[in-house]
C-alpha cells in the first residue's frame, strides 16, 4: 500500500489535543467549573475539527495511507510510531471526534468531581484516536489498553445501577481479552522473522497456515470481547447501563468499534488464511448475536438495557459483514461501525437526559413522555427509527450492504439475521409507543424540555445520521478506496 507523508502532523495533533487538555485540567482547581468544561470542550473540539478535516481532505483518487507520520521509536524492538489515515479508519476517526465533542457537551451539567471526570474521559478518547490511526501493533495495543482501563474509574465513580459490579466485570472481561491479544500479536511479531511491529511490513509476510489460524482465533476472541461478540458480550449491557451518559456514548458508540476495527485491521489483514478458516465460526457467532440481542432486548423494561442489547445485535451485523470477507460486506461493516456509533451515542445521550430529570428509565413509568418533553423524546425516537433501519438514515445503507453480502455468502445465517432484525424493528416501535405515546406520568409534568444549548449535541448527532443517510456515497466511496486493495491483498 502506498504511503503519503503528511506535510503537517495533523494526526499527532488530533492525538495530543486531548492529552494537552487533560494536562491543563490537572493543574486547574476543582472549583473553576466553567474553565474546566471549556478546556475539555476546546480539546475535544480541536480533535473533532481535525477529524473532519482528515475525512474531507483524504484524497480518494490517490488512495493508500495518507497523512502518514513515521518515526522510529524503540529501535531494539522494532517499534515505530506510525500513524496514517485511509478509507477504513477515516470514518471512525470522524466518529470518535463526533462522539467526544457531543459527549463533553452532554456532560455539561455534571456536578460531581467534574475535573477528574473530564481528565479520565480525555485520557480514554486519546486511546481511541490512537487505536484508529496506528499502523504499529505496539502502539495499537498500547492505545487499545489506554482506551479500556479508564472505564473502570469512570463507571465506578460516576456510574449508576450496580456500578461496582459492572465496573469490575467490564474491566476484567476486557483485560482477559487482552490476555489473548498479547500472545497473538507477539506470535506474529516473532514468527515473521522481521522483528517489527509495523503492520504494513508484516502484511507482506506469508505466515504459515497454523500460525495464522492460531493468531487469528486468539485475536478474534480477544478483540471480540470488546466488540461484543456473542457469547462474550455479557459485560456490555451491564456496563452500558452502569456507565454515566457520556461514557455510555463513548463506550457503545466508539469503544466497541475498537474491537471490530481491530479484528479487521490486525487479525484479518495479517492472517487472511486464518480468517478463511474461522469465517464460518465468525458468521455463526455474529448471527447468533443478532438474534439473541434482538430477543433479549425485547424482554427488557429499562431503556438503557434495551439499547445495550440492541448494541449487541447491531455489533453482530458488523461481525457478519466482516465474516463475509466480500467488498459489500466489509464496506457495510465499516459503515455500520460509523452509523451505529452515532446512533447509539444519540440513544444514550437522550436517555441520559431523561434519566437526569426523572431518575427512572423504566418504560412503563415514563409512558407518554412525548407530551412532557417533546424534543427530548424526538431525539430518542429518531435514534430508534435509525436503529430499526428506516431508509434515509445512515444505518439503513450499512445494514443493507451487510445483509445483501451475508445472504450471498451465508444464506441461512443471513436470513435468520434479517428475520430477527425485522421482528426487532417491530418491537422497537412498540418500545417507542409505550415510552412516549401512552398516558403521561403526572409526576413528571413539571419537567422542562431540552434547552437549545443542551439540544445542540443531539442535533449534531442527528445531523450526521441524516446526512450520511441521504448521501451514503460520500461514506461508501471513501471506505471503498481502502477495502478494494484490502480484499486484493487477502
Amino acid at each position: 500500500m502506498t504511503e503519503h507523508l503528511a506535510n503537517f502532523p495533523y494526526l499527532t495533533c488530533m492525538l495530543l489535543s486531548p492529552v494537552v487538555g487533560l494536562t491543563i485540567l490537572l493543574f486547574l482547581k476543582e472549583e473553576r467549573g466553567l474553565a474546566i468544561r471549556m478546556v475539555a470542550l476546546v480539546a475535544a473540539g480541536i480533535s473533532f475539527a481535525l477529524s473532519i478535516y482528515t475525512f474531507v481532505a483524504y484524497d480518494r483518487v490517490l488512495g493508500g495511507i495518507q497523512f502518514v507520520e513515521k518515526y522510529e521509536w524503540v529501535k531494539g524492538f522494532g517499534i515505530t510510531y506510525f500513524v496514517g489515515v485511509e478509507g477504513m479508519n477515516a470514518p471512525l476517526l470522524l466518529l470518535t471526534g463526533i462522539v467526544i465533542f457531543t459527549g463533553v457537551l452532554t456532560m455539561w451539567e455534571l456536578q460531581e468531581r467534574v475535573k477528574e471526570y473530564f481528565i479520565f474521559q480525555l485520557a480514554l478518547v486519546t486511546g481511541v484516536f490512537g487505536v484508529f490511526m496506528s499502523y504499529d501493533m505496539f502502539f495499537f495495543f498500547l492505545f487499545y489498553e489506554i482506551a479500556v482501563v479508564p472505564m473502570y474509574i469512570l463507571i465506578l465513580i460516576w456510574g449508576s445501577t450496580r456500578k461496582i459490579y459492572a465496573a469490575m466485570k467490564l474491566t476484567l472481561y476486557l483485560m482477559a481479552g487482552s490476555g489473548l491479544i498479547i500472545p497473538g500479536i507477539l506470535l506474529l511479531y516473532s514468527s515473521s522473522g522481521l522483528f517489527t511491529f509495523d503492520m504494513v511490513r508484516l502484511h507482506a509476510v506469508q505466515f504459515s497456515p497454523w500460525i495464522q489460524k492460531l493468531a487469528f482465533v486468539m485475536m478474534y476472541l480477544g478483540f471480540g470481547v470488546l466488540a461484543g461478540v456473542w457469547p462474550f458480550h455479557t459485560w456490555s449491557p451491564v456496563g452500558h447501563v452502569a456507565a454515566p451518559t457520556a461514557v455510555s456514548m463513548l463506550h457503545a458508540g466508539v469503544l466497541m468499534k475498537l474491537g471490530s476495527f481491530a479484528i479487521l485491521r490486525i487479525a484479518m489483514y495479517l492472517c487472511p488464511q486464518g480468517f478463511q478458516y474461522w469465517a464460518q465460526l465468525m458468521a455463526l457467532l455474529a448471527a447468533t448475536g443478532i438474534v439473541y440481542g434482538v430477543f433479549v432486548g425485547l424482554a427488557q423494561t429499562d431503556l438503557k438495557y434495551v439499547i445495550g442489547y440492541s448494541s449487541v445485535s447491531h455489533m453482530g451485523i458488523v461481525g457478519l459483514g466482516l465474516a463475509t470477507g466480500t467488498l459489500d460486506g466489509l464496506n457495510g461493516a465499516v459503515f455500520q461501525m460509523f452509523a451505529h456509533g452515532v446512533m447509539t451515542a444519540l440513544f444514550f445521550s437522550s436517555v441520559g437526559f431523561i434519566y437526569d430529570r426523572t431518575h427512572t428509565r423504566e418504560i412503563h413509568e415514563l409512558g407518554g413522555f412525548s407530551k412532557i418533553m417533546p424534543v427530548a423524546s424526538a431525539f430518542f425516537i429518531t435514534a430508534a427509527l435509525c436503529g430499526a433501519g428506516v431508509p434515509g438514515m445512515a444505518s439503513f445503507w450499512a445494514e443493507l450492504l451487510v445483509l445483501i453480502a451475508a445472504v450471498k455468502v451465508f444464506p441461512i445465517r443471513g436470513l435468520f439475521a434479517i428475520a430477527a432484525l425485522v421482528i426487532g424493528a417491530l418491537f422497537a416501535l412498540r418500545v417507542v409507543q409505550n415510552t412516549f405515546f401512552n398516558e403521561p406520568n403526572p409526576n413528571f409534568i413539571h419537567h422542562e424540555d431540552v434547552s437549545p444549548f443542551l439540544g445542540l449535541p443531539r442535533m449534531i448527532l442527528i445531523g450526521f445520521l441524516i446526512f450520511f443517510g441521504l448521501f451514503p456515497q460520500v461514506m461508501v466511496g471513501l471506505i471503498k478506496t481502502s477495502i478494494v486493495p484490502f480484499i486484493q491483498g487477502m
Partner: protein
C-alpha cells in the same frame, strides 16, 4: 582514575563512616540525621551518575566495572536516596536507633554495589553476605509487638538456607572448573552442562539470588518480612534489593545459557509457578504490604521470562523491567508511608478517602498501581511487553500466554487498591499535608512512570549495550 572506577563504592563507604559517627551520639536528633543522610545519598546518586560510563577491572580481575554494573549501581544509589527521602517520619523505629537504620541501609547498598560488579565467585558471596547481614539486622529493628522478631528470624533462616544452597552450588562449579573466575568458568560451561553436576551447580548457585528476588520456591519470607519490617526497610527490600538481585540472576544464569533446553525449562517452571502463585494469593490479601509481597513474587516470575530468553533482547528487557519495578513499586510504597504516618501496617481498606485527603498521592498511587498491573502508558506496561516479546522470540508461546493471563488476574487485586483510594469515603479523616520535597518527589515519580513508559528507547538502548558484557 582508579578512584573513579571504584567511585560509588568509596563514596558510600565514606557515607557509612559518617553515619557510624552519628550513631555514636547518645541522643541523636532524628530530623538532622535524616537531612544529613538524605543529602549524602542524593550526592551519591550524582556520584553514581558521574561514574556511569566508567570501564575497567579491579582487584586482580575479581571486580569488573562496566555499563551493566554501573547502571545497577546508579539504580541502587537512587533507591537508597528515595528510601531516605521518605524516612523523614520514621515512626516505625525507635528514635535512638535512627542512625543505625541509615547506617545499615548504606552498608547494604554498598554490599549490593560490590555485588553487581563482582565477577568472581568468592567476591560475589562476600558482597552478598555484606548486604544480607545488614538486612537481617534491619528487619527486626521495628518498634512494638513481636511480629518484627518473627519476620527477622524467618528472613535470617530462609536467607541462611539459600546461602547454603548457593555455596553448595558454587562449590560444584569450582570443583568442576578449578576456577572461581567467571571469565574462566564461562568457556568451560558448555562441556560441563552436559553432565548433571554443571546443571545442578548453576541452579543451586542461583538459589541465593532467587531468594532475594523472592522466586518460588524461595518466596516464603516475602509476605512475613514485608508485613513485619518497618515500612521504610521494606521499601528498600522491595525496590533496591530486587534490582541487585536481578543483576546477579542475569550474571549467574548466563552461565547456564549454553545448557539449552533443560536449564531454560527449569526457569520456565519457576517463572510460571511464581507468577501464578503470587497473583492468586495476592487476591485474598487485606494488608497492603502483604499484597505487595505476593505481587513481588509474581513480578519475579515476569522478570525470569526475560532471563530465560538468554538473548540480548531478553536480558535488556529484564534490566529495563528491574529499573521500572524499582520506580513503580517505590511509588506505591511512598504512598503507603505517607498514609501510615505512625508506621503501622496499612490495610487496603485504610486507603479509603485518600482522594479527599490528598489528590496528589492518589494520582501517584494510581499511576504506581497501574504500572504494576501493566496498564499503559507506563513503564510497567512497556517493560512487561518487552519481556513478553523477548520470551516469544525464543518460542515460549505458552509461557507468554500464561503471563498474559496472569496480567489479567493481577488486575483484579490492583483495582481493589484503586477502588479503596478512589471510591470508599474516608469520612472525618484529616487531609494529608505533604512537605515540598515530598511533592517534588511525587511529581518526579509520576513523570518518570509515564515518561519512560512512552519514551523507553534511551533506557532500552542503554540496557542492550550493557547486557552485551554479561551474555
Amino acid at each position: 582514575m582508579d578512584m573513579l572506577l571504584f567511585g560509588p563504592e568509596l563514596y558510600f563507604l565514606l557515607v557509612a563512616l559518617v553515619l557510624f559517627c552519628l550513631s555514636l551520639k547518645r541522643q541523636p536528633h532524628p530530623r538532622a540525621v535524616n537531612t544529613i543522610a538524605a543529602t549524602l545519598a542524593g550526592l551519591g546518586v550524582l556520584v553514581a551518575l558521574v561514574c556511569l560510563f566508567q570501564r575497567g577491572d579491579l582487584f586482580f580481575q575479581a571486580y569488573r566495572v562496566d555499563l551493566f554494573s554501573q547502571i545497577f549501581k546508579f539504580a541502587l544509589a537512587l533507591g537508597l536516596f528515595l528510601v531516605f527521602m521518605i524516612s523523614r517520619n520514621l515512626a516505625g523505629i525507635e528514635e535512638r536507633l535512627h542512625p543505625e537504620f541509615y547506617l545499615f541501609l548504606t552498608t547494604c547498598t554498598l554490599g549490593m554495589m560490590m555485588l553487581v560488579s563482582s565477577v568472581e565467585l568468592l567476591t560475589i558471596y562476600v558482597s552478598l553476605e555484606l548486604s544480607s547481614y545488614s538486612l537481617y539486622i534491619l528487619v527486626p529493628l521495628r518498634r512494638g509487638d513481636d511480629i518484627d522478631v518473627e519476620a527477622g528470624i524467618k528472613y535470617l533462616f530462609i536467607g541462611a538456607v539459600s546461602s547454603g544452597f548457593m555455596l553448595f552450588g558454587l562449590s560444584y562449579i569450582f570443583g568442576a572448573t578449578h576456577s572461581t573466575y567467571l571469565v574462566d568458568i564461562i568457556p568451560r560451561m558448555p562441556q560441563l552442562l552436559a553432565s548433571p553436576i554443571g546443571l545442578v551447580g548453576v541452579l543451586l548457585a542461583l538459589a541465593g539470588f532467587l531468594f532475594k528476588l523472592s522466586v518460588f520456591p524461595f518466596h516464603f519470607w516475602a509476605p512475613d518480612v514485608y508485613q513485619g519490617g518497618a515500612n521504610q526497610v521494606v521499601t528498600f527490600i522491595a525496590t533496591a534489593s530486587k534490582a541487585a538481585a536481578v543483576a546477579l540472576v542475569l550474571r549467574i544464569a548466563a552461565l547456564g545459557a549454553s545448557a539449552g533446553y533443560s536449564f531454560a525449562q527449569t526457569l520456565v517452571i519457576l517463572s510460571i509457578v511464581s507468577m501464578t502463585l503470587g497473583n492468586l494469593v495476592a487476591i485474598i490479601q487485606k494488608d497492603l504490604k502483604r499484597m505487595l509481597a505476593y505481587s513481588s513474587i509474581a513480578h519475579a516470575g515476569y522478570i525470569l521470562m526475560g532471563v530465560l530468553a538468554f538473548s540480548e533482547a531478553g536480558y535488556a528487557s529484564a534490566v529495563y523491567y528491574a529499573l521500572a519495578y524499582l520506580i513503580m513499586n517505590f511509588t506505591v510504597f511512598m504512598v503507603l508511608n505517607e498514609v501510615a504516618t505512625d508506621g503501622r501496617d496499612l490495610k487496603i481498606a485504610e486507603l479509603a478517602g485518600l482522594y479527599h485527603r490528598s489528590p496528589l498521592l492518589t494520582l501517584s498511587l494510581i499511576l504506581g498501581i497501574f504500572a504494576l498491573a501493566g496498564v499503559p502508558p507506563s513503564i510497567g506496561f512497556t517493560g512487561k511487553l518487552l519481556l513478553f516479546t523477548s520470551a516469544m522470540n525464543q518460542g515460549y508461546f505458552f509461557l507468554v500466554l500464561i503471563g498474559a493471563v496472569n496480567g489479567t488476574i493481577s488486575l483484579y487485586y490492583y483495582l481493589k487498591v484503586v477502588y479503596a483510594a478512589y471510591f470508599l469515603s474516608g469520612e472525618g479523616l484529616p487531609p494529608i499535608r505533604l512537605s515540598w520535597p515530598t511533592r517534588l518527589l511525587n511529581y518526579g515519580l509520576c513523570v518518570s512512570i509515564i515518561g519512560f513508559g512512552v519514551f523507553p528507547n534511551f533506557i532500552v538502548e542503554l540496557a542492550r549495550t550493557a547486557v552485551r558484557a554479561v551474555l
